[in-house]
């Protein structure tokens, strides 16, 4: 699987995300892990062609300084128009933290992220419960599974107007909830991550890219990054010639 990790001025988690993609893809390439994934790379925000990628990550950070409103300006980056096309074609897109905020601002995901109820920046380990979304990002996870993924944000309070919230719930678009008693920011319905209707776009506030190495205390993040490839990914990667 060939990943593209977006990089805006002000991104700061893109290299961890790149590392996570590489680690997650190891073993899935035709030649045992080094082939296709070697073309995994950062994608500067001015790039407009994502046709060579199998998956896109919109990483965390403070794109364009988060001026005006979190994610508001990044939405207009040339690369985001390309991400919208990539997503419309069914390509898997993962937005983490600021990336989640950008995807919401872009309209690729429902809802919005507000300042934490406490107004404080939080940075600590935490647990999520996997939802029942029909999404390639959850293919390596079971509904109800409890995973450990670090929380690290100041504007992570998920909000959607009542009708939209009902729709998100009814459509099974809630991919992750904070485990009981662990909602760190006042998110409605304890929502930590949502998908689009089709399931190929996932956004979440916690940081799976910081959960890929045993030294970090948890490798549960790999399960998310391995989702789109899944068991079928081995075959796809073996047959892929890239582009």
């Amino acid at each position: 699987m060939i990943w593209g990790v977006l990089q805006f001025p002000g991104s700061c988690d893109e290299r961890d995300a790149l590392h996570a993609c590489t680690v997650a893809t190891a073993g899935l390439g035709a030649d045992g892990g080094t082939g296709a994934s070697a073309r995994t790379r950062l994608v500067w925000h001015e790039e407009t062609d994502l046709s060579g990628f199998d998956g896109i990550v919109v990483p965390g950070g403070f794109s364009y300084g988060d001026y005006l409103r979190v994610g508001a300006i990044a939405r207009f980056a040339p690369a985001m128009a390309a991400v919208a096309r990539f997503a419309a074609d069914g390509g898997p897109v993962l937005g983490i933290c600021n990336g989640f905020q950008v995807l919401c601002e872009s309209g690729l995901l429902p809802g919005a992220l507000l300042t934490n109820e406490s107004t404080r920046f939080i940075c600590r380990p935490g647990e999520l419960i996997v939802g029942a979304s029909d999404s390639p990002w959850l293919s390596e996870l079971e509904p109800g599974e409890r995973i450990s993924i670090p929380f690290k944000h100041q504007s992570g309070r998920f909000f959607a107007p009542p009708e939209m919230l009902e729709e998100i719930e009814a459509n099974g678009q809630v991919a992750f909830r904070y485990a009981e008693g662990q909602n760190p920011n006042g998110s409605l319905n304890d929502i930590a991550g949502v998908t689009n209707r089709a399931g190929n776009v996932l956004g979440l506030m916690p940081h799976p890219e910081h959960a890929v190495d045993p030294l970090g205390g948890t490798t549960d993040g790999l399960k998310i990054f391995r989702g789109p490839a899944g068991p079928a990914g081995v075959r796809e990667a073996a047959g892929a010639t890239g582009g």
């Binding site: 409103r69 508001a72 601002e105």
Partner: protein, 74 residues
């Protein structure tokens, strides 16, 4: 050119965490009897006319899901 001021506020009913933080700091400074503090932002700009201002607000300056805005021509 016209001078424009856009006032953007969190929608009524949505917890305004910044406003709450400011409000809770006031008693410590000796300001009593002040409530319902809400923090928004003001954007001032100059434009050739007012034609695209609504669109500008809807698309960029405000997020209509969570914010209300008022356009004032100065």
């Amino acid at each position: 050119m016209i001078s424009v001021r856009v006032l953007i506020r969190p929608k009524e009913g949505i917890l305004d965490a910044q406003g709450k933080a400011v409000e809770s700091a006031l008693p410590a400074l000796g300001f009593d009897g002040i409530e319902h503090v809400r923090v928004g932002r003001v954007v001032e700009l100059r434009a050739e006319d007012d034609r695209s201002l609504e669109e500008l607000c809807e698309k960029l300056l405000a997020n209509p899901l969570i914010e209300d805005y008022e356009i004032e021509i100065l």
